[in-house]
């Protein structure tokens, strides 16, 4: 999943990029409201972690703008001002969750997982399709009860496909979820990950739809 982190403190911003990366997300950072506006307008993020006090304005402005134009991307507010009235104002402005600084990285990751779950309408925290299960919290997967040894990128591809079983994911979509702005993408990186996954969970589980992308076969 791809997350936009809008935070102006360099140390915290770096911590979120690395920490959320370890939790299985692809993270992009911006430190100013203007950059965040451009990023949100330019591409699709699965979630946004938004600081309220930014050098060039309040994160609430961006949130209101997004909600006003019908952008439903889940937003978690991250802020030093966490008095109850501020939380209420943030939530009422369209935020999905609120976390006061300083926070626990694991809690932030758990809250983001919960937001992702809610967004896709699932109740079960573990993804299950056919004989495959994927636990986004533990970053583990099993196939027919057997534990799978998957790399971070393979897990990300599998999780993207399992979130919407039967639906096609294009190559570009998968690349977006796997790689942040500064990361070099090999020309056939997605194909390589799919190939490796098929070797572990069986050839037929992931189907190639020629010219469109990939999908995971729904159990019949």
């Amino acid at each position: 999943m791809r997350i936009l982190v809008v935070e102006d403190d360099p140390v915290l911003s770096d911590g979120l990029k690395v920490g959320l990366g370890l939790a299985g997300w692809t993270v992009d950072n911006v430190s100013r409201l203007d950059d965040a506006r451009a990023a949100v307008g330019g591409m699709c993020f699965d979630m946004i972690v938004l600081d309220l006090m930014l050098p060039d304005g309040s994160g609430l402005e961006l949130l209101s703008e997004m909600r006003a134009r019908g952008d439903a991307t889940p937003v978690l507010l991250l802020t030093a001002i966490d008095e109850t009235p501020d939380r209420i104002r943030g939530l009422d402005a369209g935020a999905d969750d609120y976390l006061g600084k300083p926070f626990d990285l694991d809690e932030l990751a758990a809250r983001l997982r919960a937001l992702a779950r809610r967004r896709s309408g699932r109740a079960d925290p573990v993804l299950r399709v056919g004989g495959i299960t994927l636990d986004p919290a533990a970053l583990t997967a099993t196939f027919d009860g057997e534990s799978l040894d998957l790399s971070r990128r393979e897990l990300a591809v599998l999780s993207a496909l399992m979130e919407r079983p039967g639906m096609i994911r294009s190559r570009a979509e998968l690349e977006d979820r796997l790689y942040g702005w500064q990361e070099e993408i090999g020309s056939n990186a997605v194909e390589v990950h799919i190939h490796n996954l098929r070797a572990k969970i069986g050839r037929d589980t992931i189907e190639t739809v020629r010219g469109l992308g990939y999908r995971i076969r729904r159990p019949s």
Partner: protein
């Protein structure tokens, strides 16, 4: 406490009382002179009547003629007394009730005289042809009683009316002051956060200035409150964000299995600790400045040497050139070196921190020799933010990555303590910021510094 209603009541009642009193005095004086005139005319008439009777030879009849008939007002019985004297001084006749002592004056006309210790008003006619002198008189005491009774008759109802009038005035005041009570009630019913202006349109003309002043005060209080809230928010942000960064990086260092990731996190922790210790140092400096209202201006320090000390603790990034005018060494100012160094260090730190890439930070003596200035090649400060940057924890749109929002606050506050004016302006052409320190009393320029 003074009550407006009580005050108005007193004033109105007193004013009404004075008007009543004046009316009574006027009536008293007016009636009295009118009455004197009437009674004097009566004396004259009676004297002429008696004289004409005397002229016709009936002295006894004449003497009784002036006696009031019985059945008149008991209080005013026997008002007139008449005496008929021969010119050689024999009493020929007198009316009953008339005193045996002579009332008559030697000359004709009106006279006031004392008889038996009582003042009398007498009219005398002298008739040498008939050898008689006719004197008719009445007691002035009686006249006074008459006037007094008249005035009491008029004033008595007034005495009864005054309390009634007071009551009416009080009730009118209560009705008249109702709008004032209504507004007081409205304000009293508010809670502490309600700073909405009071509606002035519905209020009476006289209290509108009061309401306008009140609304002005509400405005000021709410601005002050917003300001306070802003500062609290800024402070929370500046204090908690580094902690959040530290905690996140520490969690990464603990959880990382990869050495590169762990080392990266530890390096970030070091950066953050450095920043946090600067924050702590600045908070302490601020607290220290706040504790002393005024810094001692005794003693003289050399600006050049203090500036060198201040610069020595600030790291200069690569590509940034720091220039200090040699004339600074000729500048000696009154004040403590410690406070001056605090100002210079924070201004220098601020200038250096805002350099984007290579450039120049230049310290100079002002052309008027009344202060010094520092210029940087940074982005400057947007004009709308200039008045705000000395507020604590305020970090504008052009904030540096490592700032705390306290540097300029400290510089400003320390300058105040030394009686120095800190002026921040953007340099012409939108390139960088210029901070000037201007001494109220011109520094002792061009004097040899003690060290050199």
């Amino acid at each position: 406490m003074t009550s407006l209603r009580r005050r108005l009541l007193m004033l109105l009642v007193a004013a009404t009382g004075v008007v009543w009193l004046c009316a009574v005095v006027w009536i008293y004086v007016g009636s009295r002179s009118e009455l004197e005139h009437v009674l004097d005319t009566r004396l004259q008439e009676a004297a002429r009547m008696v004289h004409s009777l005397v002229a016709s030879g009936n002295i006894a009849a004449a003497a009784t003629a002036t006696t009031m008939p019985p059945g008149g007002d008991a209080g005013y019985d026997r008002q007139l007394s008449c005496q008929i004297w021969s010119l050689d001084g024999r009493l020929l006749a007198r009316s009953s009730g008339a005193p045996p002592e002579t009332l008559a004056e030697n000359n004709e006309g009106f006279a006031t005289r004392e008889v038996n210790g009582e003042p009398w008003r007498v009219y005398t006619i002298v008739d040498p042809a008939k050898d008689v002198r006719v004197a008719v008189g009445d007691r002035i005491g009686l006249r006074d009683r008459l006037v007094r009774d008249l005035v009491i008759g008029l004033a008595a109802p007034a005495i009864l009316v005054i309390p009634l009038l007071g009551l009416l005035i009080w009730l009118s005041l209560r009705a008249g002051l109702k709008p004032l009570n209504a507004i007081a009630g409205e304000i009293a019913a508010r809670d502490g956060d309600d700073m909405r202006p009071v509606a002035a349109q519905a209020a009476p003309l006289e209290i509108r200035p009061l309401i306008a002043a009140l609304n002005g005060l509400f405005d000021k209080v709410s601005v002050a409150r917003r300001h306070e809230r802003d500062i609290t928010a800024f402070a929370a942000h500046e204090l908690r964000t580094p902690l959040a960064g530290l905690k996140t990086q520490a969690q990464i260092a603990l959880a990382a299995t990869d050495d590169a990731v762990r080392n990266g996190a530890l390096r970030q922790i070091l950066v953050s600790v450095d920043r946090t210790s600067r924050l702590a140092r600045q908070l302490l400096a601020l607290a220290k400045l706040e504790a002393r209202q005024k810094s001692s201006t005794a003693g003289t320090v050399n600006v050049g040497s203090v500036l060198r000390d201040a610069m020595s603790v600030v790291q200069t990034p690569d590509g940034v050139a720091v220039e200090a005018d040699p004339d600074l060494d000729k500048l000696n100012v009154a004040g403590e070196a410690e406070t001056l160094q605090l100002i210079l260090r924070n201004l220098h730190e601020n200038a250096v921190a805002h350099m984007r890439g290579p450039g120049r930070v230049a310290w100079r003596v002002l052309p008027d020799k009344n202060g010094i200035s520092v210029e940087d090649d940074g982005p400057g400060i947007p004009d709308d933010e200039l008045p705000l940057v000395t507020q604590r924890f305020y970090r504008g749109r052009t904030r540096s990555l490592s700032g705390t929002g306290l540097g300029l606050t400290i510089a400003q506050m320390a300058a105040e303590r030394l009686g120095i004016r800190l002026v921040l302006v953007n340099r012409e052409g939108g390139l960088g910021l210029r901070g000037a320190l201007i001494w109220a009393q011109p520094p002792k320029d061009r004097r040899k510094s003690p060290e050199s």
